[in-house]
Symmetry: D2
Subunit: 300 residues, 4 copies
Amino acid sequence: MDVRDASGSAGSSATGGRARLLVSCADRPGIVAAVSRFLFEHGANILDADQHSSDPHGGGTFSMRMAFELPPAGGGLPGLAAAFERDVAVPFAMRWRLADAWKRKRIAVLVSKVDHCLLELLWRRRAGDFEDDIVMVISNHDALRSVVEPFGVPFHHVAIGSEGKAAQEAQVLERLEGAADVIVLARYMQILSPAFVARYRERIINIHHSFLPAFSGGRPYQRAYERGVKLIGATAHYVTDALDEGPIIEQDVVRVTHRQSVRVLQRMGREIERTVLARAVALHLEDRILVHGNKTVVFV
Amino acid sequence: MDVRDASGSAGSSATGGRARLLVSCADRPGIVAAVSRFLFEHGANILDADQHSSDPHGGGTFSMRMAFELPPAGGGLPGLAAAFERDVAVPFAMRWRLADAWKRKRIAVLVSKVDHCLLELLWRRRAGDFEDDIVMVISNHDALRSVVEPFGVPFHHVAIGSEGKAAQEAQVLERLEGAADVIVLARYMQILSPAFVARYRERIINIHHSFLPAFSGGRPYQRAYERGVKLIGATAHYVTDALDEGPIIEQDVVRVTHRQSVRVLQRMGREIERTVLARAVALHLEDRILVHGNKTVVFV
Amino acid sequence: MDVRDASGSAGSSATGGRARLLVSCADRPGIVAAVSRFLFEHGANILDADQHSSDPHGGGTFSMRMAFELPPAGGGLPGLAAAFERDVAVPFAMRWRLADAWKRKRIAVLVSKVDHCLLELLWRRRAGDFEDDIVMVISNHDALRSVVEPFGVPFHHVAIGSEGKAAQEAQVLERLEGAADVIVLARYMQILSPAFVARYRERIINIHHSFLPAFSGGRPYQRAYERGVKLIGATAHYVTDALDEGPIIEQDVVRVTHRQSVRVLQRMGREIERTVLARAVALHLEDRILVHGNKTVVFV
Amino acid sequence: MDVRDASGSAGSSATGGRARLLVSCADRPGIVAAVSRFLFEHGANILDADQHSSDPHGGGTFSMRMAFELPPAGGGLPGLAAAFERDVAVPFAMRWRLADAWKRKRIAVLVSKVDHCLLELLWRRRAGDFEDDIVMVISNHDALRSVVEPFGVPFHHVAIGSEGKAAQEAQVLERLEGAADVIVLARYMQILSPAFVARYRERIINIHHSFLPAFSGGRPYQRAYERGVKLIGATAHYVTDALDEGPIIEQDVVRVTHRQSVRVLQRMGREIERTVLARAVALHLEDRILVHGNKTVVFV
């Protein structure tokens, strides 16, 4: 059992509720039947179900998301989680998690000086587009304090001081500990340590630009301009130790021509970055993403 | 039970097989559990499952598609269909159909004089993109015979003669009877009678142009040009008695500017029409579409 | 000569400057040569030029946009405008305008209670994406005051009181007079009178949702959901007396499936509306739009 | 003067005609005026003009495309070309070419065994979408002869025999010499020698798949599948000695999800490849592309 998520969510609703069950295991006959019978017998009404087998001809990985409602009576999600572990997850050797849909996830946004991705998230929160809540913004600079505070979200300036980056990261982790469920790097220009990444595995979302062909190294928009690319894009992914190469959550592109200057390409890049990041965050908040190795299964 | 589809497909595979089950009924708890348990107990291995409730809060319509494999032993699809009717469909008051995935659907294409949609379908057939087969092309003109015959597909010229349209339609129906499972109107410029439409309900696919705003009446590209629209599109739908207003299967658009002449808009319109029609046909062939009233649920 | 624009802009730069010349007239040989020679002889360096003939085979309308820089010496834009009128515009019977690119257009935003389009404009202004300035927000409700004021933009509540709509519109016009160059209806739920529209012809931009097929009347998202459309979109246009049918500036769509609830469709509709409106406003601000009858030529 | 293009096209129309002039040179004031005055004085009527400066603030490269009609009287295109060289091109140190729009370009398609791109080109030729003509198909295999010949296009099998690749390429060049104006590599799986590329500089168009991130090496669709990319695409470019890295003409992408198998991704890849290649070929045929270094300016 994926203790992290269950402990984070299953304990929150004593009676009744709405939840999302995410499951993956080696594919074999009977999984859907076992899970759906289990839920039915516990009084759950399945609202939405989606499944996928990576190789229906055998040897594949089975993935499933089921959203359901629980009746007020019964043991609630904690009881359901315990029973599911015993009756279904262990027999099928499942990796799984159960998320309480009524529990708002606590989002921490990490930023540096650039505000377009941050603003998109704050705006969507205010528009009620997210089910969940942005509980803090942390930055290694103080520049964006005046942007954040009018939205009523706490802003923490955690500078990189004379004690170095490791000390700063430790302070960031301290702020996050027990206070955040998901971390969004909204153009945070610091590389997280492997320990940080391990602490929040599959819960740190990053955004970066994407080009065809890829331009590694500096000044990518300048190089995309010089190369005359016809598309520029952005990729949102979970952070792993391989920089910018974690499991892809969402990607999109926008068409450009030779007419756009580097400055305009950068502006268009900001637009596509904020759109793609906001979509990726929403998918995560709605528990629509399963990670297998370096690949996501996104149930939309 | 939807006898049409079951009779068309369930009888074809005496032992083992691969099939797709499509179900819709009033939503209530236990449907997924009942269907998946049924399939499991009959030895089926679910390859892909997708479900949707039009209103998860009650009173909605539940829709589901399950693709599965049957073991060689057992009664095959006909036996499964009979058992499903008795054990699941009747208790849940389901509308359902069971399609043999190994049985190739027989496609009849109806055309007039314009060939772009027809060619796209013939080309995709030759490329092996369709699982199924185009068994005939019928036209009220002889113009496209030389286009069709090199592909090795029979071409039938059924002219509208002195006996009138009804007589011609009767001849077309005669050609189709027992020989075609799905009818694609690839720019067929005749209106089908209500009796024809009823005979092939939810099995006749049409394509037409789409504009924002809509331009009813003649010369739509000329009018779209004059209006300076920035998008032109196409809509593929099932044919009903309400002309061009049946359940939408697929839509797409392409961007245009003031630079495109009417002639170029028409060329771009042809491109988007053939793409959208080919996608819609593929969705139908793979049994991915359920129709509720005037709306489709498309499981992709 | 289009006095409005020339008076609004040509007088602002006594020496040197950057400008955009927009021209339309009956097509005939020599127009490009005459305009470009005129500009060259006045020391202008053409930065960007774009032209279009609605019918290159004769009888069409010629449109052109030229962006250029003027040297510091010389009469500046007012002198250039007078000479152009005499030497080029009159001989070719041109409709034209000359816009000072260094003069920031003053934008007034009219809103009611819904804030997504308003916020997008305010955010883009803060991000520096617009060259120009939002100088006021006017609303027939007081609801959005707290949204607007943190951006440092004046908010005017002009209620529809007992004196009726005409009186309110008169007050709005009074606020605008001499203070605004372009008016953006960011979900302003009042119909403007013909007199208002005439006063700001081709300078009032509106946004509305777009569907294929169109759904006139109320509750369009509900009806789009019921119809199972696969695309929802938005159209930005100049306001004319024909409600929602003025010249189209920009359109775009986003794909949807049966899975999106009416509420999610509405959220997606808000996103596409704000994107399309912001693009349309930017095109107007950069003097990229010519209107011919009920059609735009957009030079991008 | 770019002798290649002028000799290929300017000699074809003794009296009157329609032509496209493409020009690039160091940016400076007066270029548009000089070219448009020249055309006007030679009786040309400009149908379409488009220009671009890579850096309007100085030091940039100026690019222009002008499409125009010539009156029946006068020296026709050869006379015009000679006068333009003397009066305009030399004074401005221009790189330029003049293409006769009424002269059909002769297209040679090189293929190996895969037919989807070839078929798209043949189909569009038959549909009348191209202004120009496919005069031959050359393949290092005989596999596609039966695909090509029904379209009435000569098919040449030029095998790589015991004499090796260089000998085969020499035979291909012999076929092309004097017979083809543009070469389309429609999934031709042989690398062209630098001498071949130099012989047809900016006249060989290639298509290849594109991914975000890029997957160099073999089995790219398998790797894209394993990586869970959300977009797959295609890039059409002019061939240079740097394999797959020549100036980009056109790019596009299509959205995919975890549901698409490798086989379906390949099918979708074929679709996007043929669309992008066909668009790139059309842009080339209409003389809409200028190449600066490793970048294109595409006037659409």
